[in-house]
Structure formats: structure tokens, C-alpha cells
């Protein structure tokens, strides 16, 4: 099943060809049977929005914890005519984003881009692009832990029952405790949501700022967790509600600053330390969005900023 698809590698139909380093690999690395297995899981996931579908996660050329779930989902759906964008915490230029994009370029020959508007598939780690998506686009999320009840109910069998019976009092208890100990709901990322009025879902560690974007989004949203072997999905135009209390409603983060580069007051800002004196600068986390606003066009990489310009790694 892993035999190289020689027919594909010899065709130059789209004008692009695989990188020579990827010679001998099937299109998008995975064999066709694996892709079918993944697509079946994806179809199931789309049919039951928010429900975690188990799948046979494969060994990928990078370890678990580095986005293998998202990569497998992308590999299953990507076609020769697609244009791929890969971001990591909003940036196209981090090591992970660069490597994953190059991985797909080599194994598929597919066009890649930094511009959200041009992409047909966007694979992301921990952010949703600021630029609104369209019905023609698919957003693939990398998910570390798909189970929102993981820390509250460690027993897997019991967790399954809770989902099956929509017995979600436990997550309310967590939010209650947050208010007790912090005065407000303290969760700022991976904020639990109810998808399609039914399943409690982890949206992946995106900031809660991004949660509203999930609601009634025209794009198809797919979630892959490689280590945990689960796939879930939110079909286009699906209601997604962030949990809250009547007297403590869901709120997104707000900044007092605007982006230092493009002046946006609406996007998610990263705070960066720019020198040894501790000077701070607030910059859009979504690098493409920032470029677009600045009218920078299709620049390969942003002006070399500063060595400490690193957004924090999160789990």
C-alpha cells in the first residue's frame, strides 16, 4: 500500500513536479488506503459536528506533538489544484510552519502561499486567520488534546459516556471554579465550546479571542490530533457557542494598544520584547493580515525584526 505512485511522479500536468528529495514517496506522503481511511473519518466527523472520531494515526516523519494530526488531515484532502498556507501562531515563518509547508511542497508539488485570500487549504497551529474565510476554503487545525473534559474526568470510558449522554455539568463546574478563584472565567485559550447545540468540543489551543470566528464560518473546519488519534470537524455555517454563565458572559480579550506595524485595533496582538532594556512592542500575531494592511504585497519574509521576536510556545 505504500508503493510509490510512479504514474503521478512522472506527470508534469500542472507544471510542477515533486522535489527530487521526495522521489519514491506517494503524493502527499501517505498511501492511498490511508488517505481513504482518513477521509472516511473526516466524513463521519463532518456528519456529526463536534464529535471526536477515532482514526488510525500513522507514523509521520516527525514525532507526535509536532502537528502530525493536522498534517495527516491535510495530506488526506490536498489535491494538485490546491494552494496551501501553513501558519504557526499566526506566523508563516516559524520553523514549524516553514517545515510543514516544505514537506507538502516536496511531496505534492502543490502551490504554496502566505496570503490567506489565495489559499484553498490553511493548516494552522493555535490561531484562526484574521482575514475572513470563504466557502471555498478549508481550515485544518493541529490539535494536541481533543478531549475538553480531559483534566476533569480522567477516565476515558466515563468521558465517552458523558459525551454520549450530553452530560456536561462537569465543564460548568470548571468554569464555576475559575470564577471562584480568579473572579472571572480564567480560561484564555482552548476555551470549550458547544458545537451545533450538541457536542462539547475543544477548539484546540486557539486564544478565546478566535472562538467567535468559529461560529457560522463559511469555511469547512477540520481538526486533527495525531497523538490522541482523533478527528473532529465543524461543517460550514454551524453554530458554535462558547460556554459561559448568564451572569458571567463570554468575553474576548481586548488590547489598549494597536499594532505597531499596521495600526490595527481589531486583531490579536503579540507582545514582544525588543531589546535588553525590556522595551515592548505590540504586533499583529497574524503576519499575513499585518502585511496586507501595510500593503506590503507578496514579500517572502517580514523585515528582519529582532531575535527575541518569538511568540510563546504553548502545549
Amino acid at each position: 500500500m505504500n508503493a510509490p505512485d510512479t504514474a503521478l511522479s512522472n506527470t508534469a500536468a500542472t507544471g510542477t513536479s515533486h522535489d527530487s528529495a521526495a522521489h519514491g514517496y506517494n503524493f502527499a506522503y501517505l498511501d492511498e488506503q490511508t488517505k481513504r481511511m482518513l477521509r472516511r473519518a473526516l466524513l463521519k466527523a463532518v456528519a456529526v459536528p463536534g464529535y471526536q472520531v477515532p482514526f488510525a494515526s500513522r507514523e509521520m516523519p516527525l514525532p507526535f506533538g509536532w502537528g502530525t494530526g493536522g498534517i495527516q488531515v491535510t495530506a488526506a484532502i490536498i489535491g494538485k489544484a490546491d494552494t496551501l498556507k501553513v501558519i504557526d501562531q499566526g506566523s508563516d515563518e516559524t520553523t514549524n510552519a516553514v517545515n510543514i509547508r516544505r514537506f507538502f511542497a516536496r511531496t505534492t508539488g502543490v502551490a504554496t502561499t502566505r496570503r490567506t485570500a489565495e489559499a484553498t487549504i490553511v493548516q494552522t497551529r493555535h490561531r484562526i486567520p484574521e482575514t475572513p474565510l470563504t466557502e471555498k476554503q478549508i481550515l485544518v487545525y493541529q490539535v494536541p488534546m481533543p478531549e475538553p473534559l480531559y483534566r476533569l474526568e480522567p477516565r476515558v470510558a466515563e468521558c465517552k459516556k458523558l459525551h454520549a449522554l450530553a452530560d456536561y455539568g462537569l465543564i460548568s463546574v470548571k468554569l464555576y471554579e475559575d470564577i471562584v478563584h480568579h473572579g472571572s472565567i480564567a480560561t484564555t485559550y482552548d476555551y470549550p465550546v458547544i458545537v451545533n447545540h450538541r457536542y462539547l468540543t475543544s477548539p484546540s489551543p486557539i486564544p478565546k479571542f478566535d472562538n467567535p470566528k468559529m461560529h457560522m464560518n463559511p469555511a469547512l473546519q477540520l481538526f486533527g490530533a495525531g497523538r490522541e488519534r482523533r478527528i473532529h470537524a465543524i461543517p460550514p455555517y454551524t453554530p458554535v457557542r462558547s460556554l459561559d454563565f448568564d451572569d458571567h458572559p463570554f468575553e474576548v480579550q481586548k488590547w489598549q494598544h494597536a499594532c505597531a506595524l499596521c495600526g490595527s485595533k481589531e486583531s490579536f496582538l503579540d507582545e514582544m520584547i525588543v531589546d535588553d532594556a525590556g522595551t515592548r512592542m505590540f504586533v499583529c500575531s497574524d503576519s499575513d493580515y499585518c502585511h496586507e494592511r501595510r500593503g506590503d504585497g507578496d514579500i517572502e519574509s517580514p523585515a528582519p525584526l529582532l531575535p527575541t521576536a518569538r511568540q510563546g510556545e504553548s502545549a
Binding site: K161, A164, L165, D167, G169, L170, S172, V173, K174, Y176, E177, I179, V180, H181, F245, D246, D247, H248
Partner: protein
């Protein structure tokens, strides 16, 4: 009057031995029934079978729900069973740590059953939790402390509050005062006595302590080697025991 809970020939055994055999009784609303026996008598098996924590081998078990329908408990689907346990029943464990969530505050423990049935207002949940802490005579200012910060007797009160907050009609209790100091036991028994009478609860209590039975129960069932050997009005069974085992049990109580 229809009984609240009806058992007929209920049997649950382990490998053909032990457990409980052929138990039949009716429990009416507002009655407190104590199941008394020494360890190994099968009383805990019986309680767990009645509360649907264990599946019976044979016999029938019926319950009259709030809306008046009689449910065949043994044929109930798991979702229905869990809903029943969440809304109309309570179960007080012998060790309060088994019946509480140690990782969340006292208020969250009491509020969880409310949240599980859809309560969505933080302030109201907190108010209900405060009220219940007062009712079980806990210091309500400690609402945000974790269960581990409370003593054993207080944890048991917390567990009782957690079980009663949804206003159940039937509460199961497994040796609720065992393992507590005598004076702590006494206060807890007073609390249970008051609550069962003011809330008009039906309660099934398992205990090996006859004093608890005399204090709390209207009715008594004495179990020995898995079978009910005597049953009746509490004061009658204790003052005029008929069965040899009951007589032994009653005469074994040390006078104070």
C-alpha cells in the same frame, strides 16, 4: 397509596453465594427504612442493587417517578437511569471522599448537581450552595475551600448537601456515620433526623449500628446471611424481636 419503591424477590449473588437473596418490600414516600445487619449480611449488596449500582440477578424493582409513572428499574436504559439518579435520587457514600470531588471547592461540589441539570446562573448557584451549607450547619463562608480542608464529619455534611440540593425524593445512604467520632456521629444523626422529617424524604439506610436505626428509621429490615430475617416497625423489632438473630443483635448492644 402507591409505594415509591417496590422490590420483589430481588436477588444478587456472587458466584451463587453471598450477596442478597429473595428480598421483597415496599417503601412509601416519607418513610425511612433501615437495613441492619453485620458485615457479610448482604446489606450493602442490597443497597447497591436497589440503587442500580449493581445489576440484580433476578427479581423485580419498580419506582414511581415524579410524574406518576411506574418505572421498571431493571429494564431502564442507561441514559434514563443516569437521569433518574441525577434528578430524583441521591446516594450518600460511607466515605465522603467517595462522594465528593476533591479538586473543586465546597460550593462547586454542592452546585454541580444543579449545573448538571442545566443551572446557568453563577450567582444563583452560589446562593443555593450557601443556603445548603447553612442547612447542614457548615460555615458558609468556607464555600470556596476544598473538601480536604474540612474534617470528616463536615465532609459528610457536604456530601449530604450535595445529594439533597436537587430535591430528590429517594436517598440511599451507606453507613453514613460509620468512621466518625461518636460526638460527630451524634450531630450528624440529628441533622439527618431533622432533614428527613422536614423534607419528607424517603430514605434507605444501611447500617450495622442499631442506635442509628432506632434514631432515624420508621422501619427496619434485619438481614442475616443474605436474607431478610425480620422486618417491621423499628420500635417493635427492637423491643419485641421475634427472630433468633434479631434477638442476638438487640441483646448485643452495649448499654451506655
Amino acid at each position: 397509596m402507591t409505594p415509591l419503591l417496590s422490590a420483589r424477590a430481588l436477588t444478587k449473588q456472587y458466584g451463587g453465594r453471598n450477596g442478597c437473596r429473595n428480598v421483597s418490600f415496599d417503601l412509601y414516600p416519607g418513610e425511612v427504612l433501615c437495613i441492619v445487619g453485620e458485615s457479610g449480611s448482604g446489606k450493602t449488596t442490597l443497597l447497591n442493587t436497589l440503587a442500580l449500582k449493581t445489576e440484580a440477578d433476578s427479581g423485580s424493582l419498580h419506582y414511581t417517578a415524579t410524574h406518576g409513572d411506574t418505572l421498571d428499574l431493571r429494564a431502564l436504559s442507561e441514559p434514563r437511569r443516569r437521569l433518574l439518579m441525577r434528578t430524583e435520587w441521591g446516594f450518600v457514600q460511607q466515605n465522603p471522599r467517595d462522594g465528593l470531588r476533591s479538586g473543586v471547592s465546597a460550593g462547586a461540589n454542592i452546585g454541580e448537581p444543579l449545573m448538571a441539570v442545566g443551572a446557568r446562573h453563577y450567582g444563583e448557584i452560589r446562593r443555593a450552595a450557601t443556603q445548603w451549607m447553612e442547612r447542614v450547619e457548615l460555615d458558609a463562608t468556607r464555600i470556596d475551600e476544598f473538601p480536604a480542608a474540612f474534617s470528616g464529619g463536615m465532609q459528610q455534611r457536604l456530601q449530604i448537601a450535595r445529594n439533597l440540593v436537587t430535591g430528590p425524593r429517594l436517598v440511599f445512604m451507606d453507613e453514613p456515620t460509620a468512621g466518625l467520632d461518636v460526638s460527630v456521629q451524634a450531630r450528624l444523626l440529628d441533622l439527618l433526623r431533622t432533614l428527613t422529617s422536614t423534607l419528607h424524604l424517603s430514605v434507605l439506610i444501611v447500617t450495622h449500628d442499631i442506635g442509628v436505626a432506632r434514631l432515624l428509621a420508621h422501619r427496619l429490615m434485619v438481614m442475616q446471611a443474605g436474607e431478610v430475617v425480620e422486618a417491621g416497625l423499628t420500635d417493635q423489632v427492637l423491643d419485641d424481636p421475634q427472630h433468633p438473630y434479631t434477638q442476638t443483635l438487640v441483646s448485643s448492644v452495649l448499654p451506655v
